[in-house]
């Protein structure tokens, strides 16, 4: 959308083209020549598109002017007073003139300098356009970024140019603006803009404040950025068709974002419903048309391939190839990319918030991207009038948001140009989603860290080049120039900065329409076709590349280029490319993997080939410099100019042998010579071809070997890895074993300790036993002594007894009969003991018998115990 900031007059001053891009000095002249052609084409295509869209609208989607209005207003948040007034006017006008007419072309114009009136020159084109647009108003959907120094002034233009002056005289007056009744029609729910003076919509404003922290200071001044705008309704059917092909992608995206977007989406739905109700109030027709479009979308979704469903697809394709009108381009591109289907409400704002929040906590990679983006922003279309400070802020936000959105890509140089280009054509958030569509979808895998798809495409392109332009490629091979050297940058930059802008944009029209990279190949082929002959004429690598570069950059005939590309190379289609990509991808993946794993360098067979070629040619150049170098005479002129030389030489050689031939045959001879010459040439080229084939063969053999070797190496490495794995496993086992051993040892030690202590115990016990033994022995000896003593005592007793008995006998012998039978018993060792015991027993017995008597009197139950007791008491005696 920034493009609308650019004053057309300023463009013409400093050799910039209509898009504000710098022209190389050497191209200024040619550009001037083509400007009128461009204008003519533009007029023509504007008419055609108008026609097409009119029909679309009347057939597919009857759309009320009301809704259209609403949408245009949505794009219009920051308009100043006179703008609103003008809108009101035009609205009234419209209603007057009947609402069936469509003003598809909104001519946008903006003068940066409020003092500057509209330049006549810059108006010419618009006037021409106005002639075609039946009912137009000029709307500014500009992002007046309202800096103090640079008070951007909006200027609206009515169909009658008289009003121009009027409106330019009017200055912004906010009071006036607020009083405009039209204001109410502005749907701010969709246009997330911020206007200081407005208080009607506090919710989005508050949200915005949160989002753009970084810009707080600026917000104190009037800041109003249109971040999102819908495309005009007349493109809705196109949008619906294109959206149907991104449905799946979007569904996935939605799924991913449900967590982050939950809150946002609920808000969004509220807004949506609000909006709907507003619409209903105002105009019920709007609602029906909306539901109609929804239905159509739904239908489209159910259809797998959208193309056959839309009868006008082919017509649109033709129109796209003829170019999209400048003023529609931004919106048409969005429709093609399916921005509507891709967009997730508030996702972009959330990303931005995330960026500002995570300034410190961001990862290293993110910081790296940020640094790179910072480096690249001033180097993106340097000096472009629209990319001023604010434009660059937008650019920075988009790139940072994208890096955040898809970390697998992050930021890659070239994206800055794409984002910049998109920003020139549409509001910031729209540009973001378009970029998302292009990079995530159309160029999936292209700008990632390893750039795999880009490398694959280069291999595919080279193969196709060899197929289509064998002579050219042969010549490049001969010069030692690789096709990818040239085509690599072409593809990576999607031709931005490679060919003139008119061509870039026309190519992008087709690219975005088709939704794949086929047109890259086709355009590259077209360029090769256009400039191949010139390159074949060059004699060294530098000249070849330089001339191709400079020729490409002066391809001002955009129609020729695009039509050649699209019509001439129909056989190069997505299916074929996919097939070839599949073939080449493994090679790239292998190399990338190698690179990652071993830090090795990219070595493809092409490199080998070119080395071989250059080696071969370095040797052969000197030898072959005299004879024509080329193998199969791509350049007929050159061949002709060489042939006479050749025949002259032959003349000299053959004259002697032909001297005596008949003169009337001279003509025939000349013819023969020419023939011979031709044959020789053919033979030589055949020889050269043979040589080439030989080289190719060698190459293939080498390649084979290399492949084999690398396979072997890989296998060996695998084995090594496996062995290492095994080794490490073994080591692990060993350590485990060691641990177990240690444990066992410890256990052993413990048991040993236990054993020792047990032994000690045992020793102690033995000692105790010993001591006991000793005691026992002592006791035994004591016992023996005692026995002896007893014996002596017994004998003494006996002696005493005998003595006593002797005495008793002497006194009265019958009084002591008992001691005599007792005496043998006393001879046992225990006699003394027994005697003692018996004495005690004797003392007890009378006692017990007393107790028996008493107990018998009370109860007889005790008697058994008494008996046992008595038994017990008697037992020792019996035992003895």
């Amino acid at each position: 959308m920034l493009l609308s900031l650019v004053s057309k007059r300023s463009l013409e001053v400093d050799s910039r083209d209509a898009y504000g891009f710098a022209l190389r000095p050497q191209h200024v002249q040619r550009y001037q020549e083509y400007v009128s052609i461009y204008t003519e084409e533009e007029t023509e295509r504007a008419e055609k598109w108008q026609n097409f869209l009119d029909r679309q609208e009347s057939v597919a989607e009857p759309c009320s002017s009301e809704e259209e209005f609403q949408d245009t207003f949505q794009a219009d948040g920051s308009d100043s007073g006179e703008e609103s007034a003008s809108e009101e006017d035009s609205r009234n006008e419209k209603q007057d003139s009947g609402s069936s007419k469509l003003d598809g072309l909104e001519v946008q114009h903006l003068e940066k300098d409020s003092n500057e009136t509209v330049g006549e020159l810059s108006k010419e084109k618009e006037v021409a356009e106005e002639a075609h647009v039946l009912d137009e108003h000029q709307i500014l959907r500009e992002t007046s970024l309202g800096e103090k120094s640079e008070s951007v002034k909006d200027e609206a233009e009515q169909s009658d140019t008289d009003k121009e002056k009027e409106s330019s005289v009017e200055s912004e007056s906010d009071e006036e603006k607020q009083s405009q009744p039209v204001k109410e029609a502005i749907d701010l729910n969709h246009v997330e803009i911020q206007q200081e003076n407005e208080t009607e919509e506090p919710v989005p404003e508050a949200e915005k404040c949160g989002v753009d922290d970084e810009k707080t200071q600026k917000e104190t001044k009037s800041r109003s950025v249109i971040e999102w705008a819908h495309i005009r309704p007349c493109l809705k059917s196109i949008e619906a068709m294109m959206c149907s092909r991104v449905k799946n992608v979007k569904y996935m995206q939605n799924k991913q974002q449900t967590i982050a977007g939950d809150h946002a989406s609920s808000l969004a739905s509220i807004e949506e419903s609000e909006q709907n109700s507003m619409e209903n109030d105002r105009d019920s027709e709007t609602f029906t048309s909306r539901s109609h479009s929804i239905k159509e979308e739904h239908d489209a979704q159910s259809n797998v391939s959208p193309e056959p469903f839309f009868p006008w697809y082919e017509e649109l394709e033709v129109l796209v190839r003829l170019g999209v009108p400048k003023d529609l381009r931004g919106e048409v591109w969005q429709a093609f990319v399916g921005v509507k289907a891709r967009r997730v409400e508030r996702y972009y704002q959330d990303l931005l918030a995330q960026i500002t929040d995570s300034d410190e906590s961001s990862s290293d990679v993110q910081r790296k991207w940020k640094k790179q983006i910072e480096k690249d922003i001033p180097r993106t279309f340097p000096g472009h009038p629209a990319l001023n400070e604010n434009g660059r802020d937008s650019l920075r936000r988009i790139l940072l948001a994208y890096a955040c959105h898809n970390p697998s890509v992050g930021y890659c140089q070239a994206m800055n140009f794409f984002a910049g280009l998109l920003l020139l054509l549409m509001p910031e958030e729209n540009a973001f989603w378009t970029l998302v569509g292009i990079i995530d979808d159309y160029f999936d895998g292209y700008y990632t860290e390893e750039m795999i798809e880009s490398q694959v495409d280069q291999l595919v392109f080279e193969e196709l080049m060899r197929e289509r332009f064998p002579k050219l490629v042969n010549h490049l091979d001969y010069l030692g120039v690789q096709v990818a050297w040239i085509s690599g940058p072409w593809f990576l930059s999607i031709f931005v900065n490679i060919i003139p802008w008119e061509c870039v944009l026309r190519m992008w029209d087709v690219l975005l329409f088709e939704g794949n990279r086929v047109v890259l190949f086709r355009t590259a082929f077209a360029l090769m076709e256009l400039y191949g002959p010139a390159i074949v004429a060059t004699q060294d690598a530098g000249d070849a590349i330089t001339s191709l570069q400079s020729l490409a950059s002066s391809t001002f005939d955009s129609s020729q280029l695009v039509l050649t590309a699209c019509m001439g190379y129909i056989s190069t289609n997505e299916a074929r490319l996919e097939e070839l990509r599949k073939i080449h991808r493994p090679a790239v993946l292998e190399i990338v993997e190698e690179r990652i794993q071993k830090g090795r360098v990219w070595k493809d067979k092409k490199g080998l080939a070119s080395k071989l070629y250059s080696f071969k040619h370095e040797g052969s150049i000197l030898d072959e410099q005299k004879p024509p170098q080329r193998t199969d005479g791509e350049n007929p002129d050159d061949d002709e100019s060489r042939s006479p030389n050749f025949s002259m030489n032959l003349d000299g050689a053959n004259v002697d042998s032909e001297v005596d031939s008949l003169p009337d045959l001279q003509e025939q001879v000349v013819w023969m010579k020419v023939e011979l010459c031709r044959l020789l040439e053919e033979k030589r080229s055949a020889v050269m071809r043979a040589e080439e084939l030989e080289i190719a063969l060698m190459e293939m053999v080498k390649e084979d070997n290399r492949l084999e070797l690398s396979a072997k190496i890989e296998q060996l490495e695998k084995e090594v890895r496996e062995l290492k794995q095994v080794l490490s496993d073994k080591k692990e086992q060993e350590t485990a074993m060691l641990q177990v051993l240690m444990k066992v040892e410890q256990d052993q030690k413990l048991t040993e300790d236990a054993r020792i202590s047990a032994e000690q115990d045992a020793a102690a016990q033995r000692y105790a036993a010993h001591v006991l033994q000793e005691k026992n022995e002592k006791l035994v000896t004591q016992l023996a002594q005692m026995e002896k003593k007893l014996v002596t005592a017994e004998t003494t007793l006996e002696a005493t007894l005998q003595y006593e008995s002797g005495q008793n006998k002497a006194l009265s012998s019958p009084r002591f009969p008992r001691p005599a039978p007792e005496s043998p018993k006393k001879k046992t060792g225990f006699l003394s003991f027994g005697l003692g015991w018996r004495d005690r027993n004797k003392a007890k017995q009378p006692e017990e018998s007393n107790s028996i008597n008493t107990s018998n009197a009370t109860s007889e139950v005790k008697s058994p115990s008494k008996e046992s007791k008595t038994e017990d008491l008697l037992n020792p005696e019996t035992r003895r």
Partner: protein
């Protein structure tokens, strides 16, 4: 003679080439995508001429995946760093290693410290550059594409160091 310029993003590779080939300096030059090509012929003192076919490569790290395409067949590699950025000097060391590993063995290498005009912001001492160059048998020079200091000298010196027998294409 094919020459390839390598080095971190924003060190001034494109500016050096533009200064050398066109004699221009643009402080706000464009980001290089992929690579760009320019050629220039210079006359040496011994009245021979050398035609430099210069591939100016993109500086961002991921584009180094494509760099081999350009340096593989090159006879000269000019590794550029920015004397105000130690990071770019690190990157230069990486390129030296990369070329030693994968470049052609007899490639002539030059180490260039660019932006010498910003000496008050210098962060990489000249000695560091010299040391790195000496260690790797490179030719070292500090240049300024802005003031054109040493730019021509750089290419002349490279021309002198080229192996004689290779004639200018």
């Amino acid at each position: 003679m094919q020459l390839v310029l390598l080095g971190d993003s924003g060190v001034g590779k494109s500016c050096i080439v533009l200064r050398f080939v066109r004699g221009q300096f643009d402080a706000t030059s464009k980001v290089t995508v992929g690579a760009s090509f320019l050629s220039q012929t210079i006359a040496l003192q011994d009245s021979t001429t050398v035609k430099f076919e210069i591939w100016d490569t993109a500086g961002q790290e991921r584009y180094s995946a494509l760099a081999p395409l350009y340096y593989r067949g090159a006879g000269v590699a000019v590794i550029v760093y920015d004397i105000t950025s130690p990071e770019s000097f690190k990157k230069a060391q990486y390129w030296v290693k990369e070329l030693q590993k994968h470049g052609s063995p007899d490639i002539v290498m030059a180490l260039v410290g660019n932006k010498a005009d910003l000496h008050e912001k210098r962060e990489v001492p000249t000695e560091d550059g010299m040391e790195l160059a000496e260690k790797n048998g490179m030719f070292f020079i500090e240049t300024s594409a802005k003031t054109a200091d040493n730019i021509n000298q750089l290419f002349e010196e490279i021309g002198k160091r080229l192996p004689r027998p290779t004639p200018p294409s």
